[in-house]
Structure formats: structure tokens, C-alpha cells
Subunit: 290 residues, 2 copies
């Protein structure tokens, strides 16, 4: 999905937030923003939004020396989500359809997104999660998704934000006996989960963890490591979490199921579902049960 002009204010908003988190020095902050604008004046504005965001983040990180500005925020989000595990377990165990409930939990966890939203508080997470669980899941029939998971020999799960990874773990626990590899970012990218964040969420207990080799808040294959690309190409089925991964992979012809919450007008237009929708999409199939 190419960036549109409408992405630009959002990319600048992210840049400002990241600069403010990375340095208290107002002179340096302005200098960095000027450098970011110089980058935006030269970069190909037809790249995907996360690629442009990745370029901006590299400038901020280089100029502040702060490699992982969201470290504390990611850790706090993971802790909040871990505290909710007993609640998640109870919701799943009381459910008639643990697969569907786990799936909805996994999509609900996608509310923890600092790329597309302003800061999310603990109270927000708990409140929005309640709402999210009662919302319908739109797009592809989850039954078909379940059948494809059952047939797949190897599954690659593309993680998104730290904290959301706890919800992913609860969903993956509903797929016993499956060989699942969870890919995380190869370097800090906004609040996306890195290897350390994924371990904090306990994902290493339910899946094999790999890094994708890239510090872009998405899955831009050309920026990923050859090792990750091999896993990607050989996976029978790919489960992709979040808007960033969707923005970078929506035109791929691989067998990818995208699970995310629609967070902006452009993705709403592109996916066909309004902002706020929780969707399960498989664009590589021609027919979907929308």
C-alpha cells in the first residue's frame, strides 16, 4: 500500500512524539525535525507509510543516540497486558469457541498501537479491550481461517506491538500441536515488539521466536534478513498482525491472513472496512466473505 498525502500529517505527528520521547533538549528537537523535513522533501513519497516512518526513526535515533525510545512504554504495556492474563484465560475457558475467542483477543490486542494513535493508558487498554471483545469480526470467515491453520505444516506469525504480544500468546495457545514461528522486528521500531519484548510477553514459551532483521515498523521484505525471507517464503501460512504489516504486505501474493484494527481513513479505503473495524482479511484470495 503506497503512502498518500493524507499519511504525511500522521508521519509528522509520529516524528514529533518520537523526538519528544527521545530528547528533552528543545534546540536539538527542532534541529531533528528540520532534518526529518529535509528527509521528507527528498524521499520517495510513494513508498509504504512504514518505510517513510522507518527513515524518520533512523534520523531521530542517530541524532539523539537513543536506540529504543519506547523501551519503557513497551515494558509498561507488556506488564499491563500480563496482568490481564487471568482475565483472558477465564474468557477463553468460558467460551463455546476458544479458537474464535482467542482470535478476537489477538485482534483486540492491536489497540496498543502508538504508530496510529496517541499514547494509550492502562485504563484505556482495559476499557477498549472490553469493547473490542464485544465487537464483530469482519472480513473472512474465521472457520475458513481455522481450517487453513489446521492444514498448514508451518505457520509464520508476524507480531506487531509490545503488549499486544501477550494477546497473541493467548491465541497461539489455542493452536496446540502447530509448529509456529513468531517474527519480531530486528531492531526497535516505535513500540513494535523486539525479541526482548516478545520474551517478556512469554511468547518464547508457545512459539519459536525469530527476528526479521529490519527496524521498520512493518514487514518490508527488501529490508529484512535473508534468513527471515527464507522462513517467509517457506511458510505454508502467514498470520500478520496490525496495520503496519498490512501496509507493507497487502499486495503480496503469499498466503497471508491479516488480523488488525482499521485505524485510519486510508487503510479503511484500501481494505474496504470503516475505521474502528476489527478485520480478518486474506487479499491473496480473490473471493472473501465480506
Amino acid at each position: 500500500m503506497k503512502a498518500e498525502l493524507e499519511c504525511l500529517p500522521c508521519l509528522v505527528r509520529q516524528a514529533v512524539e518520537e523526538v519528544n520521547i527521545s530528547s528533552p533538549d528543545s534546540l536539538l528537537r527542532r534541529k531533528i525535525m528540520r532534518r526529518c523535513f529535509a528527509f521528507m522533501s527528498e524521499t520517495d513519497l510513494e513508498k509504504t507509510p512504514p518505510e517513510i516512518a522507518g527513515g524518520i526513526a533512523r534520523i531521530i535515533s542517530r541524532m539523539t543516540g537513543v536506540e529504543d525510545p519506547y523501551k519503557l512504554i513497551k515494558s509498561a504495556h507488556t506488564k499491563t497486558a500480563l496482568k490481564m492474563v487471568p482475565e483472558m484465560d477465564s474468557v477463553i475457558s468460558q467460551s463455546d469457541d476458544p479458537f474464535l475467542t482467542g482470535l478476537k483477543l489477538a485482534i483486540s490486542g492491536n489497540i496498543i498501537d502508538l504508530g496510529a494513535r496517541e499514547r494509550v493508558s492502562d485504563a484505556d487498554i482495559i476499557r477498549i479491550l472490553d469493547e473490542a471483545m464485544s465487537m464483530p469480526l469482519r472480513g473472512v470467515d474465521p472457520g475458513r481461517f481455522k481450517a487453513e491453520i489446521e492444514r498448514a505444516g508451518s505457520i509464520l506469525y508476524l507480531a506487531d506491538n509490545a503488549g499486544e504480544t501477550v494477546f497473541d500468546r493467548k491465541f497461539i495457545e489455542q493452536l496446540p500441536g502447530k509448529k509456529i514461528t513468531v517474527a519480531v522486528r530486528g531492531a526497535p521500531a516505535i513500540n513494535d515488539a523486539t525479541l526482548e519484548d516478545a520474551r517478556d510477553a512469554g511468547l518464547d514459551r508457545v512459539a519459536t521466536l525469530v527476528e526479521n532483521g529490519s527496524g521498520i515498523p512493518a514487514t518490508v521484505l527488501s529490508d529484512c534478513s535473508p534468513e527471515f525471507r527464507e522462513i517467509f517464503e517457506n511458510a505454508d501460512l502467514i498470520i500478520s498482525k496490525g496495520q503496519g504489516n498490512y501496509e507493507s504486505l497487502s499486495s503480496s501474493d503469499a498466503a497471508i491472513y491479516f488480523l488488525f484494527k482499521v485505524k485510519c481513513d486510508l487503510v479503511a479505503y484500501h481494505s474496504g472496512f470503516p475505521v474502528g473495524s476489527q478485520v480478518l482479511l486474506k487479499p491473496s484470495d480473490s473471493a472473501t466473505d465480506a
Copy 2:
């Protein structure tokens, strides 16, 4: 009021909207945005937000050849407001305090602001106006304002948006016998009123109209004409409408009453009143009845 980093996403959002209105050519649009980013990478980010916005608008206008992209929108807003005149007259005539009602009408009209907000529809204007009229007016005591108006020999009224000017007219009609000069922008600036827009609103029937000589969506004195600066310096009292004029004149020591609706966090912080407040402020006085 100096721009802060938080202004940057908003300035980029305005730029994108103005580019989209000015040209349907997507290649040109990207080229213009690139040029705007180059400008933002070089400009002094400590200027007031409207000064930066003015620089961006000049680039867009120069590259598209469209001098007044908001012409049709301004005209539509003025027409909508003119249709509401009988309603405004009836509200004023039924009021116990026509001065205060006219004043609240004038501030209510400040909802028509494409700089700080997304596009405003006719239905929005009517609905928000109803709400605005029932909202309290915060800041300085309107009685003190009225007394200063009564004492003033010459009053300069700094207009803001087209359409809002109809509301201004209704307020000015409540000040019979006063010598009032209404200043409008000297060139198109977003949807701010120009001479033509002010005449469409009928302001020429209740006041002397002058252009300020500047195409910045604010009153940046160094960018205004010597003629306007003379009027500004000689006025006994200045009434300034809208956030843009506040952003550019808030640190002036002239006798200025600012009438506006607080539309963003930075102005909320700066003025001391939360977003959404309708305020009457006189920063040049040390004590205010907040």
C-alpha cells in the same frame, strides 16, 4: 506565540488540504509537498504558526497558480451565514442584553475555521452555533469590555474567517455610533476574509473596511502595510477575532481584546483555557477576571 513542535503535524495537515483543493494532479501534489517539506526544513520553527502557514501557502499558490483556493468554500460559508441572519436578529432582539448576545454570536462565528479544523459543513455550522450560544464566555468580564468600547474614539476590528464576518456584522450592529474600522487580509490566506469576502458579508454597511496588506492567516505586523500599521497604532481599542490573530498578537502590548474559540492544546496552554472554550481575553492588562 511561538510555534511548538506540536504545531507541525497541524501545519502539514493544512498544507495537504490546501494542495488537494488547489490541484487534482497527483504528481504535482507530491512535488509541492516535497517543496513544502524543504521549506519547513529551512524555516525558523520559532516563528508564529500562521507565519509558517503563510510561507507554505505561498509555495502552494506559486506552484499551482491558484491564488485563492478557498474562494468557493469561503463564498459558501458566507452564504450559509447570511441565511442565518434572520435567526441571529431574532436571538438578539429577544435578548435582555443585546451587547452580550451579539458578542457571543461573534465568538460563535469563529467555529468557521479551516485552519484549525477539518472541513465544516452547513449543518455543522448551524448545530455548533446553537451549542456555542449556550456556552459560557470565559476570560474578561464583558461589562468591562463594553465600558472600554464606549470610551474608545476609534476601534479597529481584526476580522478572521469568511462567513464568521456575518456574525461580526451582527455584533458591530450592537455598537451604534462607534467609529469602527474592520481590517481583512490583504491577500487570500486559507479561508480568512479578504475585502471581497467582507463585502459579501455586508460588513461595508456597518464599518470602514481596510486591507492589512498581508497574505498571512493572522496579523503579523512586520508583514502588514505601513497604512495598516498606522491604523493599528492609532486605534484606541483593538478587537481581534480568532486564533490566528491571537497567535500573532498575543505578546503585543497594544490594547487588544481577543475573541476566539480555543481550538488546540498549545493555545489552550498559552491562554489558560481548555480546548473548546469561548474566550474574551486582554493579555495587555495584568489582572483579568478569569
